[in-house]
Subunit: 343 residues, 2 copies
DNA sequence: GAACAACTGTGGAACGTTCCACAAATGACA
DNA sequence: TGTCATTTGTGGAACGTTCCACAGTTGTTC
């Protein structure tokens, strides 16, 4: 009839990317059988399967993800939502998640929200639209309300201490109370009594560290007042001011490494010696801690392991199990910022 | 007939997530009209549109991405492939891309390949399967071959100097030759003559910096041999060894900040003064540069802008324009690691 | 008030898979 | 050789959209 395109027996016109139907026609079987063969079903005669595989191979066939997901109603893909892409702490966790995901045959996609609640919510919605089977939220300052509504639709695991945990979401975090205690005890064990805390944002993890700082100070019967600072300069200034120098701290536990590094810099700028004039403990044990001189004593969280645990919890939840609450133990890594003569 | 599910007029059984058909039925119109209304087509009477929007809203309808993509054959989504998630340099570029993507109404998904070529290729394929309309590859050590075959299917832009650029892919990079020249000239301007280079991996950007180091040294008529080191300790050792100390470098241009920071630490560990005994220039001007003491002089690349440019190029390519080659200019940020008494 | 154009709205066929209820072929057994 | 079970393979209906060719409805104009 003078048709300009390749018209095959069945009325299917082949053009553009090869589809399962193209494979079927070239192999002389039905599309259903191709589908079965490609997915490794048992009810296909080995030789036919091999034949189909060959044809698919030489046609350069790749299954269309959209069509597959639409038909199956699932995607085999999980979403990772990071609060902040520029935080090494967050990205390390993400890598732990991905490594674990790969081993169980799930693929992962990543997004982040620039530490902004609005952006984070939008991203969360976007990942759902994209069809993630489950989502792991890393340390995100997400509205618990949003979290809960999302959790009603698909499994969600939060890594990092959430504000208020709806019990429909799983969670993995490190024992901030223990971490803060380790830091203070370490400093007290070195003879410090005027130990201050350099506190962070009002986020749950920081708050927990702050609270534990107080209770540990009390438990160790260290002298009141327990000083809490919010910026490195205020602290350094207090040490330099004759009016306050006598009561100024000799040691500081900072709520994270980045903050500790800023204090480290400010102290050196002020001509203070570390650790002789001021001992510093950070939190997170990021690479930064090993690049400063003296190196930074820090509380280590097993980030990679936390990511793995989160993924496994998510997999369990995908399998219908209820969410859990998983708390891992941090440990202290002693370095030169508290121990003299150790680099 | 005793059916157990809500059976609607048309034979459509409503269950689970609401579909466009549910909206149509509740609004008393056809699914086609709902589709038109939701996508803001002009041929819909304003009141009906509003009515449909209301119904969709109260049903909590969200369009199914898979079905939409399948029907439209495009996704409105671009992929960002990072070489390494833990590099601040890479993630900053990614953020520039995303910011720009948001302004033009594209959404972006992120993946990365742990600096591993195999993993990177797999991710590239995965993003194509996922239906990205275009992909921006950030600094990835991807086989040019793979890049080319991918570029045959969809627009690709590479940020960072690629090994060999197939001219079917767009690219954005910083002028490494100029960057290296700025570094060497800065050090020479401060009176240094024995300037060494701390070189990086054999990747294109590092190689370009190395080459430009040599030509600039020659142009400035600085004494041979032009020393190149591959590890901080070799360099510090050379300075400490009486046999080589007399000819050892007094200044170093390192191929990136991280490497510079390690040298910085090694130098301090060896009791050297920075910049008096050893001046250091890094590359990338990451936050790390401002946290060290003394702070690190570094070559700044406009990472955010590079990301934006990459995205705009990709958008142009999606619109059918040919790929371009875009080179941006770096500048030197002078700090205490080269200038005495400046923190 | 007939003819025609401009608006609004509709139904059904894609899109490329999977899933399900069957059909056809093969083999086993009496 | 007929019966029945098992293995292989098939066709068509989903999945939830968009797109296209049309069908109704209004309004305008002579």
């Amino acid at each position: 009839m003078g048709l300009s395109q390749t018209r095959a027996t069945n009325g299917h016109v082949s053009r553009g990317k090869p589809t399962i139907i193209d494979v079927a026609q070239h192999a002389g079987v039905s599309k259903s059988l191709v589908s079965l063969a490609l997915r490794g079903s048992s009810g296909v005669k080995p030789e036919t399967r091999q034949h189909i595989l060959n044809v698919a191979q030489e046609l350069g066939y790749r299954s269309n993800t959209w069509a597959r997901n639409l038909a199956q109603g699932r995607s085999g893909m999980i979403g990772i939502l990071l609060n902040d892409l520029s935080s090494a702490y967050h990205t390390d966790i993400a890598q732990g998640i991905e490594a674990a995901a790969t081993t169980v045959g799930l693929s992962a996609i990543l997004t982040h929200g620039h530490r902004d609640e609005e952006a984070l919510s939008a991203r969360l919605g976007h990942m759902q639209d994209l069809g993630a089977d489950g989502i792991i939220v890393v340390s995100a300052a997400l509205n618990p309300q949003h979290l809960a509504t999302a959790a009603a639709r698909l499994p969600i695991v939060v890594v990092g201490r959430p504000a208020a945990v709806p019990d429909t979401v799983g969670s993995v975090w490190n024992n901030d109370e223990l971490g803060a205690r380790l830091a203070v005890e370490h400093l007290a064990g070195l003879g410090h009594t005027r130990i201050a805390h350099l506190s962070g944002s009002p986020r749950p993890a920081s708050r927990a560290r702050l609270a534990s700082f107080h209770t540990t100070m009390t438990d160790l019967a260290l002298p009141e007042p327990h000083q809490v600072f919010h910026g490195p300069h205020a602290l350094v200034h207090a040490m330099g001011d004759p009016a306050t120098a006598r009561t100024a701290p000799t040691a500081v536990f900072a709520s994270n490494d980045r903050r500790a590094a800023k204090l480290h810099a400010a102290a050196l700028d002020a001509g203070l010696r570390i650790p002789e004039d001021l001992a510093i403990v950070g939190y997170d044990n990021t690479e930064l801690a090993t690049l400063l001189r003296p190196q930074l004593t820090s509380i280590d969280q097993p980030r990679h392991e936390m990511g793995q645990r989160a993924l496994h919890m998510l997999v369990d939840m995908l399998g219908g199990q209820p969410p859990r609450r998983d708390v891992v133990e941090p440990r202290l890594i002693a370095r030169g910022s508290t121990i003299p003569n150790s680099a």
